[in-house]
Amino acid sequence: MAERERSHTRGGSFTPRAHVLSAADVQRALVRMAHEVAERNRGLDDVVIVGLQTGGVPLARRMAEALHDAEHVEVPVGTLDVAFYRDDIGLRPVLPEAVTEIPGDLTGKVVVLVDDVLFTGRTVRAALHALSDFGRARAVQLAVMVDRGHRELPIRPDYVGKNLPTRRAEMVDVSADGVTIGVLG
């Protein structure tokens, strides 16, 4: 979400205000979330991790690595771009950013959707719609590095790296360096 809100089509550049999580903090949170995924699903049978393009994809890969370290299981990882399922097409420029690659039929699987920032929930709504075209998952769970509030839809995360109260106008950036809050302009 933050990725797209920040995209150049909106104009302005990101000015950082506060560094909230370090790179090491993000890694610790990821490892904890990975353990939570394994605990909640009593293992990793049928678990598929799907990273949302673009911010969720590196996090999804790292979560799969953390799961491998913890459980010694290779979990399939996919990527999903939701541009074609968004509800604001025609309201603003919407373009696919990167590839969608879902590993096989999702019917009967437990899908863990991974994104960097959970904001209005509209990206997740689009992702749920998109996922249903790849089969009927047994369950879909949501993991986000940052939950910044301001939901516009009845959507909540199952695994959260950090709850981060923000003002609406603020931006949250998740990168290899950690998590930063800032403003546009």
């Binding site: 074609f84 969608t100 075209d133």
Partner: protein, 304 residues
């Protein structure tokens, strides 16, 4: 950009954007559910004043894969037969709440004219006379790029009836914009009277040109536009400009052959050559849907 009337409207950046978005739609084609809700609630009409199989079906398939509603108009079974003008026809169809019109007409310039009449519809040129067929050139570039990894620096031969070919005009613009070089290979009788301002070279000896080519774009000899009268006989045309099995053997191993269809097997392309792996004809048709999805999406929902 409000309409797609000519490749010239796009420029290099615009073409690359269409190809990039088309790649995302090509992936949709490989899904178990080959349909996305992107243009739900939009209505697209195909206005074909001239016959077509693949272009119309391809646009209609593209629109349906995007969840748009499709209205299909063909002049042969309409009030045009009773003498209704194109303008009245277009205004009637737009009044039914269409968001985009795909227009094909035997006369050059009709889509441009239609784009001046519409109030809010987007207009896509589905082929006008000898002028242009932009989506065909886009899908050719997409297909060549997919197989060869890029278009920049490729040597493209456009072979055959250039005079009557809207595909050739769009291809020259598109391939050149993407950095390929284009050589027209045709009998003088099937070249336009003047090539001034065209960024192309001309050759008359196909055998000499083939070994250096990366892409051979064959054009259809258009009997319905009277191109038969421009060559002494079909046999002589084939003997000099047809891609026969002997000529196909002159091609570099990684060269590819495209044809916009419908093919005249045995005239511009030998039947066994059409079925060689270097021939991209069926891949072109498959990619045509993805490319037209991209065009409709960019005009109606994306960022064009």
């Amino acid at each position: 950009m409000t309409h797609l009337l000519s490749i010239a409207d796009l420029g290099r950046e615009g073409i690359e954007e269409v190809l990039r978005v088309a790649e995302a739609f090509a992936e949709v084609e490989s899904r178990p559910v080959r349909k996305v809700p992107t243009l739900r609630g939009k209505a697209i009409a195909t206005l074909f004043f001239e016959d077509s199989t693949r272009t119309r079906l391809s646009f209609e398939t593209a629109a349906k894969r995007l969840s748009a509603d499709v209205l299909s108009f063909s002049a042969a079974s309409s009030s045009v037969k009773k003498g209704e003008s194109i303008r009245d026809t277009v205004e009637t169809i737009e009044a039914m709440g269409m968001d985009a019109l795909v227009v094909r007409h035997a006369s050059a310039g009709v889509p441009v004219q239609v784009s001046r009449w519409v109030r809010r519809c987007k207009v896509v040129n589905g082929g006008d006379g000898w002028h242009e067929h932009p989506t065909q050139a886009l899908l050719d570039c997409f297909t060549v790029r997919q197989v060869r990894g890029g278009v920049e620096g490729l040597r493209v031969l456009v072979v055959g009836d250039v005079l009557h070919s809207r595909v050739a005009r769009s291809q020259v613009l598109a391939y050149r914009a993407l950095g390929a070089s284009v050589t027209l290979v045709a009998p003088w009788s099937l070249l336009p009277p003047s090539l001034e301002g065209w960024p192309v070279e001309v050759a008359e000896d196909l055998d000499a040109a083939l070994p250096g080519a990366d892409v051979v774009s064959l054009l259809r000899l258009q009997a319905e536009r009277g191109s038969g009268a421009f060559v002494p006989s079909l046999r002589e045309y084939t003997a000099r400009f047809g891609l026969t099995a002997r000529r196909a053997a002159l091609l570099a191993p990684d060269a590819v052959v495209t044809h916009p269809g419908p093919m005249n097997r045995g005239v511009e392309i030998a039947s066994d050559v059409a079925d060689l792996p270097q021939s991209l004809v069926t891949r072109q048709v498959a990619n045509g849907v993805a490319v037209r999805m991209a065009v409709l999406f960019l005009l109606l929902g994306g960022a064009m």
